[in-house]
Symmetry: C2
Subunit: 203 residues, 2 copies
């Protein structure tokens, strides 16, 4: 058989296209896993995502508007979701005296419990990553961070909590290494954060 038989246009694919295709497949896996998890707990995907987010983030991020940005949805959608979660007794609202318009969302015991259980929904994706060599992990992370940085800059992803887009981040003058002005330390690849609680967006 002539080998050119196999050279269908989309198969002569560049490495870049294959990377995009792979990322797309992995995206699908996240969707599938989240969906499975949501059926198990009788919650919607977005409800689970909100619960998990609340488990890991500080007060000023536990608000409707922030969540809307975080998940690229409208405030209306998040407002609905929060209402539902409240009816299910998974969260409570804490109104602050200095701004009565907004409130902080807190997990109830039950909510925390579910959030912890569901936060492992991506364990299937984690397993193969655990098995990579340390060097491979570092490399992979750096490459992914590079992609996200670009997505941040181009406005596809609005929320920014990683070092590369932080006001405290710089390349040190001496050796051009990533450096955090808040922590006062050089950031080796494994120290780079993708979800830093101290993140301050660049001006």
């Amino acid at each position: 058989m002539d080998q050119s038989d196999f050279n269908l246009s989309h198969q002569n694919q560049s490495t870049e296209s294959k990377i995009v295709a792979s990322l797309e497949r992995i995206s699908q896996a996240f969707r599938v896993l989240l969906w499975q998890e949501s059926k198990e707990f009788a919650l919607s995907p977005i409800q689970i995502q909100v619960l998990i987010f609340l488990l890991n983030h500080s007060d000023e991020k536990r608000k409707v508007s922030y969540l809307a940005d975080e998940f690229n949805m409208t405030k209306a959608t998040i407002s609905d979701t929060v209402k539902t979660l409240e009816q299910k007794n998974l969260i409570t609202k804490e109104h602050e005296p200095h701004d009565t318009r907004s409130y902080i969302i807190h997990l109830t015991e039950k909510g925390k419990d579910i959030a912890e259980k569901t936060s492992f929904f991506s364990k299937e994706i984690r397993t193969p990553i655990d098995n990579l060599s340390a060097e491979n992990k570092e490399n992979l992370l750096l490459n992914l961070i590079g992609i996200i940085k670009h997505l941040n800059n181009s406005g596809v992803i609005t929320i920014q909590r990683m070092c590369m887009t932080c006001a405290y981040f710089q390349l040190s003058d001496q050796d051009n290494q990533p450096y955090c002005k808040l922590l006062n330390q050089t950031l080796s690849p494994t120290k780079l954060r993708v979800d830093c609680p101290e993140h301050k967006p660049k001006a």
Copy 2:
């Protein structure tokens, strides 16, 4: 300030966790980009995905059941989607004589046109990848393929079209290199396919 102030539990994150978080962020980007594209063309995300898929795949894959597996949805959902696309004159159905139950889905001119235009929806993700070094690209691809392979094996992703899950694939006896028995050639990293038209699932 004491440095331990920053060591919030979720911030002492392992490299693996950060990789998962990064992949999750990129997944979100795909969702956002697809959603933007769908608004622009007055189509739903799944409709666009189906159109793009039809652009690139052969007849035996252009059927309702295959699409349902491909996108991890029920046949009912795809059936609906196809009906809508037909009403919009973007696809036609070709019934085959030897099995009148099923049919092949073809793009109309208009459908092909839209499929080609929307197939670039992920260009924002591609740009930063283009800028990586050749070695980095190869490395990244191999790591992603490793993850997908695991997701295939564990059943999260049902459809398989990549070399690692193919009956024609083996590690050659001499040098343990990936080898394709159909193409009769060694598969260097850049030759590994993620969406091969000749893919034959392992028994």
